[in-house]
Every structure is written in C-alpha cells, then in structure tokens.
C-alpha cells in the first residue's frame, strides 16, 4: 500500500484524469486499435482506472509502449501477452478464458438456463394446482 501511496503522492494524485499525449496515428484503424487496447488494461498505480484514463506516470509509460507496439505492427494478442508476461492477468480488465475462469464466464448463463428450467417445472405444477382449486 505504501508503494501505491508514494507513487500517487508524486503524480498529481486524487482523481485527475490523464489525457493521452501520444501522437495520434495517421491510420484511423490503428488509432482505434490503440484506443481499444489502452482501455483494456488496468493501471497498476491507480488501480481503479484504465491505462487510457489514468494520470499515473506508469500509465503514460504503458501508453507509450503500446503506441510503439501498435506502430511496429504487433497484433492485439501479442500486445496483451506482453503486458500479461510482466504483470500477470491482473492487468487485463477482461478476464482470460482459462480453466480457472470457466465458472466466471459460463456461470451466469448456466444459472439462467437452470432457472428457466425450474420455472418451466413450477409453472406446469401450478397449472395443475389451478385445475384442482379455484
């Protein structure tokens, strides 16, 4: 926590949002990819902001590196892997699909399916009760 506080204290703490000072890409497709990517990564200093929005110096460094990688023609997957290699899955706002996250991604849909099956049963049961008593 000390680490985070120290970094914060030096870098216009609080909730001043950062605006990107990287030069925009000439190709709007690359620019769109770059913007999408910087919104996908979590700033590790201000951990409740995206790399795109964070004012931390580290976030500015990340943006610089991502900008460079997009320019150099790296793919989105490669760039994500670059970040994950250094910081782990924590840095991704979209949790990866892996064995430990199957429950996370499938859970809501399984739950919905299960619930709808139960509803079908209940409704059928009630309909039968309806025939019995007015």
């Amino acid at each position: 926590m000390r680490v985070v506080l120290t970094a914060l204290m030096l870098l216009y703490a609080g909730l001043a949002l950062a605006i990107d000072s990287e030069p925009p890409f000439a190709d709007p497709g690359l620019q769109a990819r770059y913007e999408q990517l910087t919104h996908e990564f979590r700033c590790l200093v201000c951990q409740d902001e995206t790399v795109a929005d964070s004012n931390a110096e580290l976030a500015a460094d990340f943006r610089r590196q991502i900008h460079g990688m997009v320019e150099a023609g790296r793919s989105d997957a490669e760039i994500r892997q670059y970040m994950v290699n250094r910081y782990g899955n924590f840095v991704l706002y979209k949790p990866p699909m892996q064995r430990s996250t199957v429950l996370l991604w499938a859970g809501p849909f399984i739950l919905l399916l299960l619930a709808l099956v139960i509803v079908a049963r209940v409704v059928r049961r009630r309909a039968r009760a309806q025939e019995g008593a007015p």
């Binding site: 216009y12 703490a13 609080g14 909730l15 001043a16 949002l17 950062a18 605006i19 990107d20 000072s21 030069p23 925009p24 913007e35 996908e40 979590r42 951990q47 409740d48 902001e49 929005d53 782990g88 899955n89 924590f90 840095v91 991704l92 706002y93 979209k94 949790p95 430990s100 996250t101 429950l103 996370l104 991604w105 859970g107 809501p108 849909f109 739950l111 919905l112 619930a115 709808l116 509803v119 209940v122 409704v123 059928r124 009630r126 309909a127 039968r128 009760a129 309806q130 025939e131 019995g132 008593a133």
Partner: protein, 647 residues
C-alpha cells in the same frame, strides 16, 4: 461538551434500541400487550437520540471544532458551510452515523404510520429494526466512534477531498442510504411475517409502499452517483462496474424484483417464498455493500480507509442478521400457505420470469465482483474483472428480460389471453421493429446490430408504457367512467424510464465519439461535425483553489454553438480535473484538459455524447414512477378492521 453529549446520545440510543428489540420481539412472542405498548415509545425515543447525536456531530463540523478528531480529519476553516455539513458523512465514522440516522428516520416513519397494523406484527417489525439499530450503534461505539477527541486540537484541520465539495456528491450518500436502510423495513416486514407464521395479501399491501419508497430512493441515489461521476471525474463515463457501484446495483436489481413480487403476493397471495427471500436478499446486499466499502477486501475508488477489525464486525453482523433470517426462512417458509394456481400464459408467469432474470442478473454482478477475491483466496492467482466482462455478460442476460418488460403489463392474471395481448401490443411491436431496422440500416457498420436492438427495445418498452394511459384517455373522451390508478400510472412512468435508459445507453455507447489530442492555441479540432477551437489556457482563482482555465469555442458550419471552459484546479492536497460540459437533451459536449506541453500546447479530450442525458432521465422517471405507485390511494392507511385478522 457537545461531542460528549453526542456520544452519550448514542449510548442511550443503544440502550433504547435494545429495549425496542426485546419488548418488540419477545413481547410479540408472549403476546404481552403491556410489553408491546412500550415498543413504539422506545423506538421514537431511540430515534430522537440518534438524531441528537447526528446534530451534535453536525454542530461540531459547523463550528469547526477541531478538538474532535473526525472533524479535524475531514474539514477545514476554509470550507464553505454547506460542505461542512456534507463533510459529516465524508468518511467512515460519520457515514456510519448517517446510516444510523437514516435508520432513525425510517424508524420514526414506521412508528408513526403503523398504528393500523396489528400490535404483535408492528411490535415484531419495530423489534427487528431495533436489532439493526443496536448492531450499528454497537459497531460505532466499539470501533468507529465519530466523537473521539483530538487533544491538543488541530489548528486548521485537513481539507475535505475536493471532489466531495459538490452538491450532487453531497446528497448522493443520503439518498443511497435512504434506499439501503429502507430495505431494512422490507426485511423487518418479511421477518415479522415469518415469525408470525402468516404472510397474506394484506401483509403485502402493508409492505409494498415502504418497499417502493426505499426502492425509489435507491434509484435516485444510483442515478445521482452516475451523473456525478460523469460531470466530476473528467473521464466522460457514467458507469465503471466498480465494486462499490455494483454493491449499490445489486440491491437495486433485487429490490426491483421484490416490488414486483409483492404485487403478486398482494393480488393473488402467491410467490410468498420469493417475496420473503427477496426481502431478505435486498437487505443482505445492502449490508454487503456496507461491508465491501469498509473492509479493504476489494479494490475500489470508493473505499473508505480499511481496517480488518471493522471488517470483522460488519461480517459478524451480516452473519447474525442474514443467518438468523435465512434460518427462519428455511424453517417457516415451507409452512406458508400456497397461493392460487395460474396458467402458463399469465401475468404470474411473466412476473416469475421477471424475478428470475433480475436475480440472475444480480447474481452475475455478484459473481463478477467477487471472483477476484475467490481466485485470490483459493490461491488460483490474481485477476481483474472489469467492464468488458460485465458488459459481455449483463447485456445478453437482460435482453430477453427487456422484451418481457413490454409484454407483462398486458397479460391477465391467472388466465392470460395471448390473442388479446398480441392485439394490444400490435402497434408497439410494429413501431419497435421499424425502429430497429431503421437504426440498423442507418448505422451500417460496427455495432449496428446492437444499436438496432437498443432502438427496438426502447421503442418496444416505451410504446408498451404508453398503451394504458392512452387507453384511459380514449375512454375519458368517450365519456365512459374510468380510472387510472396511481399505481398503474406509476408503473407506466417507471417503464418509460426503463425505455429512456435503454435508449440512452445504446446510443451514447455506440454513437459517442471520444478524441484525445494535442492542441495549440489557435487550433481547431473537428468532432462529430462540430468545430472545437482552442484559445489557450489562463489562470483563474477560486475560493479554495488555483485554477488553470482553457477556453474552447464550439461552432457548426460557422455558427457559434457554445463556449466551454474546462479547468485544472489545484487544492491544498490534490489537483482535480473539472471537465467542461455543454449539456443538451439530445447531446452533450465534453472537454477535459490533460497536461500542459511545450509552447502553450495542451493534451485535451473532446467527447461527443449523444443522448447521454436520457440515462439519468430514465433514472428520474423510474423514481417518479415509484413515487406515484407508493402514493396510491389503497395504501393510505385508514383501516383499523384489518387488525382483527392477526389478533
């Protein structure tokens, strides 16, 4: 002297709350009229003492009494007086006192408006609320005392976080708490019914206005929070799926299910188990929210300072309250009399589906919010679950729900007529399809499908919401004697709010434009067909800050549209970004300053946000719908005869 009196008031309130709980719950169990008679006065006295404690803390803030540690940490001589009051709930201890104060207000309301309820039942309701008061007073007095002295007194005090010096931020917590704490009333009603072993339509009619009122405050509080975050934080967003945002959204989803489930219990005596469980769940999620903000268990922008001791206390409270309630539920709910049967195509079925979808949605939000903790606790590694996950999961779950939203009001109870329903909804359906197809074609690109779906659903729900009021007006014009109850009108208004919300979210997400760029004085940027001309940044002084203000002139095809002045404000402790917003019903312009670069150039973010205001308009309409529904004539208590049912 005043802080000590405040502290004493809390201790007295604790004692009275204990009496309130004891005499209420045990008195009802023993059917002891004398004991039960004590409950209401005890509750009123306890509430008044709590209000006194709050007044004492507010007074300490107003007079800048820095010999009170909490005041010294959250206030400053330069703070304008209205913000001295709002600073009372700016941090942990004070916000707890606000929690208990809001609970005191609800207690007074219940004490006042429960005279028509059977004495035992009212005793149980107030008794449960007394237990909650007891828990929170104990929590404050043992771990989080706002009246602790700081000796020697601080001279200046520390400044309140500048982003909290704002009107919307000031009332956002009280409104949220009115909602969270209000669900304790619904909880108390459910527990009282379970204890008494009976839960019938009359009970539902009593419970509903209280629940609706809590729900509408929560709706307002969340809407305020989203709006505040948009205009204050400088990122142009309105929802981040942050754990504490989710902590307010989950009780809202469950609360929405609850008010609809109550309708079924009221009209048909059915869904009792659902209603009881939803009432318990809504309050449990409120307590969970309280826990999450103060425990440090999740990373969040809202977190108050965390302390494991406090976390342990709240967790124990959750265990006790929710555990006891669920045990009671498991024991008593199976014995509740079943309600009437209904056919597969009926309003009951649709409201059952309503419950299902809302509960699954709330569960999904809970799953995503807690998954990082789950992974960490089980040694499976660290993970972040952010907006990409929630958007990917929440939207598909909600889509079928939104379609059903339009249908439900026009299906009869018990025995629906599909042909009649289809006939009623024909025009709305066609309009919706048209809107969807037109949007799809007009956008023709990435996101066109989502935009089409959004437009379709918004017109569908909105159209459906207008049908009943229009039919009423038509009947009036025909000279027929007809009524439109406030409850029905409230439903239509609230559903219209949902339509506005869906439209606002779809359009702003899919058609909004955000541009980060470097601009030099004299340069013009073109965004969404508008020209933004940057004229440079100059210094400005504020009451307790120094600002750097930029000037942008917005024009369209040569005609001036607006002048916008974003700022960077430097306070004593931090610096903030004040975005310039040019509001409009159909679009907002949004400009935030970034960082100064050489030769007067600045990095800036310019955003075009179409229909973003519809999001909060939707929230306000839902709140208005709740007000209308809660004030329906049939809830105005005038009967004394109903008491005999339980006597």
């Amino acid at each position: 002297m005043i802080p000590e009196l405040g502290h004493l008031a809390l201790i007295l309130a604790l004692g009275l709350a204990t009496a309130q709980a004891w005499f209420g719950l045990v008195g009802a169990q023993r059917r002891d009229g004398v004991w039960l008679a004590v409950v209401r006065p005890a509750a009123v006295a306890q509430a008044l003492f709590v209000l006194g404690a709050f007044a004492a803390l507010a007074y300490s803030f107003l007079t800048c009494d820095f010999s009170v540690a909490y005041v010294a940490e959250n206030s400053n001589v330069a703070l304008p007086w209205p913000y001295r009051i709002t600073a009372v709930w700016g941090a942990h201890e004070g916000s707890l006192l606000l929690w208990v104060t809001v609970l005191a207000l609800w207690t007074l309301a219940v004490a006042r408006f429960s005279r028509h309820l059977p004495q035992e039942f009212a005793g149980r309701v107030l008794g449960v609320m007394g237990l909650v008061t007891l828990g929170f007073c104990l929590f404050m007095l043992t771990t989080s005392d706002p009246f602790m002295r700081l000796l020697p007194a601080a001279e200046q005090g520390r400044d309140l976080n500048p982003i909290l010096q704002d009107p919307a931020m000031a009332i956002h917590p009280p409104m949220l708490y009115m909602g969270y704490v209000g669900f304790s009333v619904a909880f108390a009603f459910a527990v009282a019914a379970l204890l008494g072993g009976r839960m019938d339509p009359v009970w539902a009619r009593w419970s509903r206005p209280w629940t609706l009122t809590a729900w509408l405050f929560l709706t307002f509080g969340i809407t305020l929070g989203s709006w505040w975050s948009y205009y204050e934080l400088g990122w142009g967003g309105w929802w981040f799926w942050d754990p504490v945002e989710n902590a307010s959204f989950m009780p809202w989803l469950v609360g929405t299910a609850l008010v609809h489930s109550l309708a079924v219990t009221e009209k048909r005596g059915a869904f009792k188990n659902w209603t009881a469980l939803l009432a318990i769940a809504a309050f449990s999620l409120s307590l969970l929210g309280t826990f999450l903000v103060r425990s440090g268990v999740l990373i969040s922008v809202h977190s108050f300072a965390s302390d494991p001791r406090r976390g342990i206390f709240i967790l124990s409270m959750i265990g006790v309250f929710v555990g006891a309630a669920l045990t009671l539920y498991a024991w008593r709910a199976p014995t509740l009399a079943r309600g009437g049967g209904f056919e597969p195509f009926s309003r009951e079925t649709l409201l059952l589906l309503n419950n299902i979808f809302l509960v699954v949605a709330a569960s999904s939000v809970l799953l995503g919010t807690l998954y990082p903790l789950f992974m960490d606790a089980f040694g499976l590694g660290q993970l972040s679950v952010g907006p990409p996950y929630f958007d990917a999961v929440f939207v598909p779950v909600m889509l079928p729900f939104l379609i059903l939203l339009g249908i439900g009001p026009y299906v009869r109870w018990k025995h629906g007529d599909p042909a009649a329903t289809a006939r009623t909804l024909r025009i709305a359906g066609i309009a919706a399809l048209l809107a969807g197809v037109v949007s799809l074609i007009l956008m023709h690109g990435e996101g066109a499908l989502m935009l089409g779906a959004g437009a379709l659903l918004a017109v569908w729900i909105g159209g459906s919401a207008f049908i009943e009021p229009l039919a009423y007006l038509r009947r009036r014009r025909q000279g027929r004697h007809t009524t439109l109850s406030r409850a029905t009108l409230g439903m239509c208004v609230a559903h219209l709010g949902a339509a506005a919300l869906v439209l606002g979210i779809s359009v702003t997400s899919l058609l909004g434009i955000e541009q980060d760029r470097v601009m030099r004085p004299g340069e013009t940027a073109s965004v969404a067909g508008y020209d933004f001309s940057f004229e440079g940044v100059h210094p400005e002084a504020g009451p307790n800050y120094e600002a750097r203000q930029g000037i942008f002139r917005v024009s369209r095809r040569g005609r001036a549209v607006a002048e916008m002045r974003p700022e960077k404000r430097a306070f004593t402790t931090t610096e903030t970004t004040e975005a310039a917003i040019e509001p409009g019903l159909f679009r907002d312009f949004y400009i935030a300053l970034g960082n100064p670069l050489d030769q007067g150039a600045w990095s800036v973010r310019i955003q075009y946000k179409p229909l973003v205001r519809f999001i909060w308009l939707g929230g306000l309409l839902m709140m208005l719908g709740g007000i209308l529904a809660a004030s329906d004539r049939r809830y105005r208590a005038r009967e004394t005869a109903a008491a005999t049912e339980y006597a």
